[in-house]
């Protein structure tokens, strides 16, 4: 049930400096009905499931703190209860609830008050800022914790700013389960340099740790007939910074795939080189841990009524090895036909091993590994609930 892939892993990446083999790999899976943690050794052949954690809770994201290798945060809510953050300091053996989860302020004279529906995105802070975390919420809000996720404070320059609130629009302007603030990026060279995306509402950048912001939308396209100068109309789905070249950003957008090389300020639409029958719309964007010319997307059907399924029911990743000049299909091992799932924006990632493997979670509850940089796909698990997010970490 597999066919030959047209893509091969680039030899140049294998020769790049890679970390020493870890003792084990851990994959964190957030789903509509709970969280799972999958454990393996450095060979990544056999996986042991630990879970469910928080069965019945909607878990939008589970993230490991890379600064200590044992603290986990999980963004949770249920069908009835309000949103919260759970925290573990022993890799999920036990959990404790945040004392003060993300919650909007209500400043006098400000825009209309809002309530957090759910925390959608979690990003650990800079390596030099121990215990700092960022969270993005729905409706769109940006929050920071400086105590490892125990208490959270809103960033007023985003959450209570009249211009930002106009760009955020209303619940009518966002994704079906609410508008999202996502893709919170901390520059590994500078903790003051932050970026985030809003669906919808554009890409934004701060050079002063979030006290002031500028838009970063030049070159990004919008839905036909709308004005690209209007920030509200921009819908970045996922933005990633290249660890191997932090001046390079990739973006999967509602209207194409883009690359931006700083200090330039104009996004280049690199998705035009994708096959026309597949298109260049999807949710996730994945960047290589070392090679800034290598990145992956997982296209979805954006024709007519936007089915948001794999095009033609034939799921595949696409990889570029030259910063978007060409793309190759990677589908060996994936279903050849009648597979109508897709992959959400947080549900695809890559590890940092010498021969990196990709990981993706599907809306149908399957967890896949793409060995040799996506050249060969196989199942880690199936029959999970709808998968919202997948993260991977190497532990000593």
């Amino acid at each position: 049930m597999s066919r030959a892939s047209t893509a091969k892993p680039a030899k140049k990446t294998a020769a790049r400096r890679a970390p020493a083999p870890p003792a084990r790999l851990v994959v964190f899976v957030a789903t509509r009905k709970g969280a799972w943690i999958f454990h393996s050794d450095a060979r990544r052949k056999a996986w042991v499931a630990d879970g469910p954690h928080f069965l019945g809770h909607t878990i939008s994201h589970v993230q490991l703190d890379p600064r200590d290798g044992r603290t986990l945060l999980a963004a949770a809510k249920t069908g009835h209860l309000g949103p919260t953050i759970f925290r573990s300091t022993n890799l999920g053996k036990t959990w404790k609830e945040a004392k003060q989860p993300p919650a909007f302020a209500n400043p006098a004279g400000g825009p209309p008050a809002r309530s957090v529906d759910h925390t959608f995105w979690l990003t650990p802070g800079h390596a030099g800022e121990r215990d700092t975390w960022y969270a993005g919420t729905s409706p769109q809000g940006l929050f920071r914790s400086e105590d490892g996720g125990i208490t959270w404070a809103p960033l007023p320059a985003v959450n209570d700013d009249a211009q930002f609130r106009e760009w955020m629009g209303s619940a009518q302007d966002g994704t079906p389960d609410g508008p999202k603030l996502h893709s919170i990026i901390v520059d590994p060279r500078d903790p003051q340099h932050l970026l985030f995306g809003m669906s919808g509402g554009g890409v934004h950048e701060s050079q002063d740790a979030g006290r002031s912001w500028s838009t970063l939308i030049k070159g990004m396209e919008v839905v036909e007939g709308m004005d690209p100068a209007t920030v509200t109309f921009h819908d970045p789905h996922c933005v990633r910074l290249c660890p191997g070249q932090p001046d390079r950003l990739y973006q999967q957008n509602h209207c194409g795939i883009y690359r931006l090389d700083r200090p330039g300020d104009t996004w280049q639409r690199i998705g035009r080189k994708m096959p026309k029958r597949v298109g260049d719309v999807g949710f996730p964007m994945v960047v290589h841990p070392r090679d800034p010319d290598t990145a992956w997307v997982f296209p979805m059907d954006a024709a007519t009524v936007w089915p948001r399924t794999s095009p033609d029911g034939r799921p595949a990743a696409y990889v570029t090895r030259n910063a978007g000049r060409t793309w190759q299909r990677q589908d060996e091992g994936l279903p050849e036909t009648q597979a109508w799932w897709t992959v959400k924006r947080q549900a695809m990632t890559v590890d940092a091993q010498a021969a990196p493997a990709l990981y993706l979670g599907t809306t149908s509850g399957e967890l896949w590994i793409g060995r040799d940089e996506g050249a060969r796909w196989s199942l880690i698990a199936r029959h999970l609930p709808e998968i919202y997010a997948v993260e991977v970490a190497a532990l000593a």
Partner: protein, 85 residues
Amino acid sequence: MNVLIPGALRSYTRQSHVDAAGVTLDALFTDLDRRYPGLRFRVVDEQGLLRPNMRVFVNGIGVRELQHALKPDDDVAVVLALSGG
């Protein structure tokens, strides 16, 4: 007063019925949060509104206004409305 706690909140209280005090529903949830930290925010949002799928009954009468006055011998039931799938 006696407060009936729904199953979804028993990870906080560990029991179905608890004692708590307050002259209003708002004060009652503040007291419940003091006894069971974190409980209030799961039921009442940061703008002081009962969350959409939570229902509260005082002596069998449905109430959504958190300023609703309470008496010491009232029976309060926190109930989950139908939702989800």
